[in-house]
């Protein structure tokens, strides 16, 4: 069962994290940005679980429970805020949400 080395998990999670960060930086749709943020959180979850199994120490998995809950709450708050802004401006494109500038 332990045939997959830890590096593989870490490379995968680093890759997922990079995709998430890139998505946050380049996507213009607020909902897609939130999906990218979820991806970042999930890559951290993968790292935690991989280390937890590697170290034989359950704290990482406990942490993952909390991260999942927080991610759900964050998604709910984020969606609520996106709806609030959609009602006002009829757009979720973050380039058009630009009242405040330098």
């Amino acid at each position: 069962m332990n045939s997959i080395p830890i590096e593989y998990y870490l490379i995968l999670s680093a890759f997922m994290f990079s995709i998430g960060v890139t998505g946050v930086l380049i996507r213009r749709n607020a909902i897609v940005v939130f999906m990218s943020i979820e991806l970042m959180l999930n890559s951290a979850n993968l790292t935690l679980v991989a280390f937890s199994s590697y170290l034989g120490n359950p704290i990482g998995q406990v942490f993952v429970f909390f991260v999942m809950t927080v991610a759900a709450a964050e998604a709910a708050v984020g969606l609520a805020i996106i709806i609030a802004i959609f009602r006002n401006k009829l757009t979720v494109n973050i380039d058009e949400i630009n009242i405040f500038k330098w």
Binding site: A72, A73, A76, L79
Partner: protein
């Protein structure tokens, strides 16, 4: 190793068979007298127009958000339930109280949503 997973495979198989069986049994046993009007999409008695893939009402968002939050809390109950016997042996009533408080907290949140009309569809 693999025999430990047999119950899981069994559950998956039963779920798959049951799902498929229900769909096909209604086709098989139900009365079927199709005609042209019955097969056309229903559009309140008018002639059908447009795509059947409509956008979902924005009200669904609210229910979906509430669902996400209340659904995910279950993950804290699972490990507690699995370990309950040994926890009970070690802590007695204090193995039970924290989860009780946790669920009461959830219920207060649910009560608030319900009383504020968050679950009303209209």
């Amino acid at each position: 190793m693999i025999q430990n997973y047999i119950p899981i495979f069994f559950v998956i198989a039963v779920a798959a068979i049951f799902g498929v069986a229900v769909i096909f049994s209604s086709k098989l046993f139900g009365p079927q007298r199709p005609d042209k009007i019955k097969e056309s999409p229903y559009e309140s008695g008018k002639k059908p127009f447009g795509n059947t893939k409509e956008r979902v009402s924005i009200k669904y968002y609210l229910v979906a958000m509430l669902f996400i939050i209340f659904d995910i809390e279950v993950i804290f109950v699972y490990p507690w339930a699995v370990q309950f016997k040994s926890l009970w042996a070690e802590f007695g009533i204090f193995a039970f109280l924290p989860m009780f408080v946790f669920l009461i907290v959830l219920e207060i949140g649910f009560l608030y949503i319900y009383m504020k009309g968050g679950l009303k569809w209209d």
